[in-house]
Symmetry: C2
């Protein structure tokens, strides 16, 4: 079956998570992604978890599948020449260097545009290409702190807490993909390429739901509220016999179903709970405690089944093992097997967007260091060895 | 200036947040998005914050700018006919009904495909179109619970906590956009349309960084760790004189800069902190406490300035007001002014992806109820009034 991005050539200068997450999607859906690593390899080749027997990084393997891998010393003239050679007929380039580095390396948009005027050149950075702190380095936790999401996450009587996984890297990577694809449509229609600039800070700032307008229009500074929602009630997580369940009872119809199913029908006659807004105003402590007491009598599974039967949105708080093993996650193939040359069979995440005619899929393992040097640069093994000696390339073949 | 998605017609059957967030991006970047609301309007027209004088919803206004608005009673034959009429020449349709509803309404992909074989029909749902719990309703908190992110967020000695804002709705909305745009490239090249299926559960499950492979390859079940990172140290948030700062000291070079700037140079000679992995193993309690004590002596601003000077990733934990007013957020135009017919000047979020040649922008306010009925359906005011009487349309004109 054809993949939808087949025929597109992507030069991938990204490392760590955010950039590679973008080019991973492009690769899963069919683009030829050529990942260029420095001679020592992408830093994530040292990031855990490591597969036991090989000692190789599953982190690198997870986010670089379906890509080709080459190495290049971009500080050497020969390395730069090889880069110019392969970028000539590329459709897209993605990079996530700190602002200014590509210019120093002479691989910035202005330089590349001279060689390939129609290219889409996409940059993902901490703070974007301009603005007073554009020069600063950034990590996920810093963007979470400055973007406002950290202050909104956690319990009201506890300090702010970051979203566990590196959410900013992921969200930025997905936005970067959107930016590339919007530019691609424009290129498909007009032939014109352009520069795409996406920032970690902007990305996380844009997913705060109504927190921003609560300030600019509502004139309040929203605070973290644990698991409850500022405008929907009941909407919370509750302790039960063997863990926690989340409940979202978003309107009167659902509240009626909920009360009937739980037997808490007296709540339906209480004027304090007559509609969603009244319930929101009067949630704490009495309504909350009533639901808390009810939940404590049952297991997660019992509550989930009852709510499923009643048609009320509900789900258990799952740990990673439970989430991975959930039949819905399995049915959606959100974890897939991948045969890796050194690690063997590993299970990594699947493709999110299910396209009926041209689906994405995980077909190839992540490349070994410099695995596709000969193919991509059109050189023989002897020529590759020579360039390795000269410090222009590196390869897994000569590493051990 | 041309917008990149100009010329594309999008039928928008979405409500609440996730779907509208997707079509908002399509609209900001130039697509003609026709939002179809039920006669009573999108539920978010009742969601806060409400603008004081008009009493109208800033929530609706924020996520539906740049769209045209029509109303339709899709349960009536005439309403369905009008829908078939405008979907005929659409490029894209986006909907986020519960699974099965579009079929009941006879506006599902199979039906629409008969009228418009080349359409891209994109569905965003809680659990996707298939699988054992595909039928269930879902809210953000339920997907956060089941997707594993909630269990990974929070302090180790506290219960799991959800990400404050509705992150699943946002992430799913962005993925839905990626799905639409990948399908659009395929359509641009081949003319073929297709069905795009994206789920809230899949979306949030896919942004857990290495948590999933820590289980499948690393054979551990990762647990929440507050603000620290499982593989980078120091990487944490610290109390200072007037709040908290986040620090990301990701490698030896940065650790040296950090120690030199803070004067904690004795840490550099300590074998327990000789490299990132050693620091990660020996972070708690001594290294953590040393940095905690150092931070307590300074203000957020003082620490941020010192780290900026040293080139160490650092940023203060900002509340919403502070984030909105940050000069970087301002420079990036992440909040923009919008003139709304009933609310006046309101400040809502801007566009994330900065495209050099065909940028997106916020140009038009969100529509009033049924504002574009006449234009979109090609009917006169008298005809509109007649259809309103028949219960096929509704309009702000006849609401007060």
């Amino acid at each position: 079956m054809t993949k939808p991005l087949e025929g597109l050539k992507v030069i991938d200068l990204t490392s760590a998570l955010s950039g590679p997450f973008c080019t991973m999607m492009l690769a899963d859906y069919g683009a030829e992604v050529i990942k260029i690593e420095p001679l020592a390899g992408d830093q994530t080749r040292d990031w855990g978890p490591m597969e036991e027997k090989s000692g190789d990084s599953a982190y690198f393997a997870a986010f670089n599948r379906d890509k080709k891998g080459v190495t290049l010393n971009l500080k050497s003239d020969k390395g730069r020449e090889l880069f110019y050679q392969i970028v000539k007929d590329a459709d897209i380039l993605v990079e996530n260097y700190k602002v200014g580095v590509t210019k120093k390396l002479k691989i910035d948009y202005d330089t590349v545009k001279e060689i390939n005027p129609e290219i889409i050149y996409a940059s993902g950075t901490g703070f974007g290409q301009y603005g007073p702190i554009a020069h600063r380095p950034c990590y996920d936790v810093v963007a979470q702190a400055m973007g406002g999401i950290m202050n909104l996450t956690g319990y009201p009587d506890q300090p702010p807490v970051k979203v566990g996984p590196s959410i900013v890297d992921h969200v930025m990577g997905i936005y970067l993909t959107v930016g590339v694809l919007i530019a691609l449509h424009h290129k498909d229609v007009t032939g014109q390429g352009q520069f795409v600039d996406v920032a970690m800070l902007d990305s996380i700032f844009s997913v705060l739901e109504n927190a921003t307008i609560n300030y600019t229009v509502g004139h309040t500074i929203p605070q973290r509220q644990g698991n409850i929602d500022p405008s929907i009630t009941p909407f919370d997580a509750y302790e039960c016999k063997d863990g926690m369940v989340a409940l979202g009872v978003g309107n009167n119809r659902l509240f009626e179903k909920f009360c009937n199913k739980t037997g808490l029908t007296h709540l339906l006659d209480d004027p304090r709970y007559s509609d969603n807004w009244q319930r929101t105003l009067h949630y704490i402590p009495e309504l909350r405690d009533t639901i808390r007491d009810w939940c404590k009598q049952y297991t997660k599974k019992e509550i989930e089944d009852m709510m499923d039967d009643a048609g009320v949105p509900c789900g258990p708080v799952l740990n990673i093992k439970e989430a991975i093993e959930h039949p819905q996650i399995k049915a959606r193939e959100m974890m897939v097997h991948c045969q890796h040359p050194t690690m063997g069979d590993i299970e990594i995440q699947g493709c999110v967007m299910k396209l009926s005619e041209t689906p994405g899929s995980v077909d190839q393992p992540a490349p070994l260091l410099g695995q596709h040097n000969q193919e991509v640069f059109g050189i023989s093994e002897a020529e590759e060895d020579e360039l390795i000696k000269e410090g222009v390339l590196s390869s897994y073949r000569t590493e051990d």
